[in-house]
Amino acid sequence: MTMQIADSVSLSPSEAKARAHAAAARDNLRTEPRAVRIVIIALAMIFLSVFVVLPLVVVFAQALSKGFLAYLSALADPEALSAIRLTLLVAAISVGLNLVFGLVASWAITKFEFPGKTFLITLIDLPFSVSPVISGLVFVLLFGAQGYFGGWLRDHDIQILFAVPGIALATTFVTFPFVARALIPLMQEQGTQEEEAAISLGASGLQTFFRVTLPNIKWGVLYGVLLCNARAMGEFGAVSVVSGHIRGETNTMPLLVEILYNEYQFVAAFAIASLLAMLALITLIAKTVLERHLDEGQDGNDH
């Protein structure tokens, strides 16, 4: 970082000119010919447009292909409404569970030292790299009729699979890492000094958590909840395995998209899909805003 120190020293005009020349020469060393630049930018833009933007546009185009009224009536269908309700319920359950767990887990991981920490972090990350279908399968093996707890559940007349608890469990499994993953790096960076100060000034553990830790990580918490929620509402593979596809009862929005699509009810399928696409877009916008807050928070801590 010697350059920055040199820059802050005041320069005579001739020196400044020489410096500008040197800077231009440096830029030349670090960039490509104009034609190469244009080709690279064009390739990037075309690729993203074809593979990412177009599919997004198609969803809305198909949903509105029979007019706005058909779109609205598809959304007002009782089956659609019950799917929306179920999706909201399941998302609320799994986001709530993972919020509490994410806070506790990242608190334990960042504020204390204990053996097996790396293993714990790997376990938390695991659902990210497991196929969603396998995430569903493990719950079928546990709670299905031939599963380990299947007999006991039947004896006690508890329905987990093909019902809301199973869907919520599978969704919780799949969205498990989001909150913890958002908080661990943030809390690691902040260290334990402020908590130690609070404790030594006589605050209780809970007071320290709510008055010191939580305000410091609030944007991180929101960020984790946002991503967790997006995934929870959109999860397909895992939920599809455990839901049993009972119409009007255990169909979440993504599952209803599949069913309607396979029945060639394209407008209805894409109408539901457009709601989920809007959720994705809103999530992305909110994520960008939150990232700005998080960056500012970090800058604030650096100074």
Partner: protein, 261 residues
């Protein structure tokens, strides 16, 4: 602490242990017979082969996108930067029906491609397209921060010592990015192998041709052939363990190579 561990056990450890226990109920011979059946082998081949091909495409295109986003200024740069995350955020089922509509024979892209004699939807090529779609953010988001933090003085040094731009990129920049590139490749591959929602709509799902392994698990489950489903799942799970392990090692390697500034 205790709460973390017990919650983790309930949600993650017990279900996964259940899967492995179930697979232990199979004799090695049964296990082998399931895996070596023609349909299973073909499904695994389709999933792993196409996922690897798609990850390679993502590696190349992802690098180009990262380069454009980090090094150049052009109108819409921030928008395109945000767009990269769409495959992360868009529910897989929505991506699946959208890609199918786009590449179907009457779709916006499917029609011109069909005129050229290229059929995408309901063929293995469709699976490939869907896997490229879901994998692209992994490469971009892994490589982008590393390229941003790359010390430009090294490039200047290489250039002023007489290296051509191409030499600088190949000999200086590429090796610094190598761990991030490999990590991105591994993550995109892992995601594509396990992907279900965005693939099944466009795949056509013809056994032995365009049937992916996760779909075969679902089919076996619906036929109540739990043993078959479990065996395929165990193979895929072991592969994802290996990938996570490799990625962790790669990260450690990267940290030991690039001095912290």
């Amino acid at each position: 602490m205790g709460l973390t561990l017990s919650w983790l056990s309930v949600i993650i450890l017990i279900p996964l242990a259940g899967l492995f226990l179930k697979s232990l109920e199979l004799s090695p011979e049964q296990f082998w017979n399931i895996l070596s059946s023609r349909r299973t082998l073909n499904a695994l081949r389709v999933s792993f082969g196409l996922a690897f091909a798609a990850a390679c495409v993502n590696l190349v295109m992802g690098s180009i996108i990262v380069w454009a986003l980090v090094r150049y200024r052009f109108p819409g740069r921030r928008l395109f930067d945000a767009i990269v995350d769409v495959p992360f955020a868009l529910p897989t089922a929505v991506a699946g029906v959208a890609l199918t509509a786009l590449f179907a024979e009457k779709g916006w892209l499917g029609a011109p491609l069909a005129a050229l004699g290229i059929k995408v939807a309901f063929t293995p090529l469709g699976i490939f397209v869907a896997m490229i779609f879901i994998g692209i953010p992994f490469v971009v988001r892994t490589v982008q921060p590393v390229l941003q933090d790359l010390d430009v003085e090294i490039e200047e040094a290489a250039g002023s010592l007489g290296a051509s731009r191409w030499q600088t990129i190949i000999r200086v920049i590429l090796p610094s990015l190598a761990p991030a590139l490999l990590t991105g490749l591994a993550l995109a591959f892992a995601r594509a192998v396990g992907e279900y929602g965005s693939v099944i709509f466009i795949a056509g799902n013809l056994p032995n041709v365009s049937e992916i392994a996760p779909l075969l698990i679902v089919i076996r489950l619906s036929e109540f052939r739990y043993a078959d489903a479990t065996a395929i799942a165990v193979v895929m799970l072991v592969v994802s363990f290996v990938i996570i392990f490799a990625v962790n090692r790669l990260q450690r390697w990267a940290q030991s190579r690039i001095p912290v500034r």
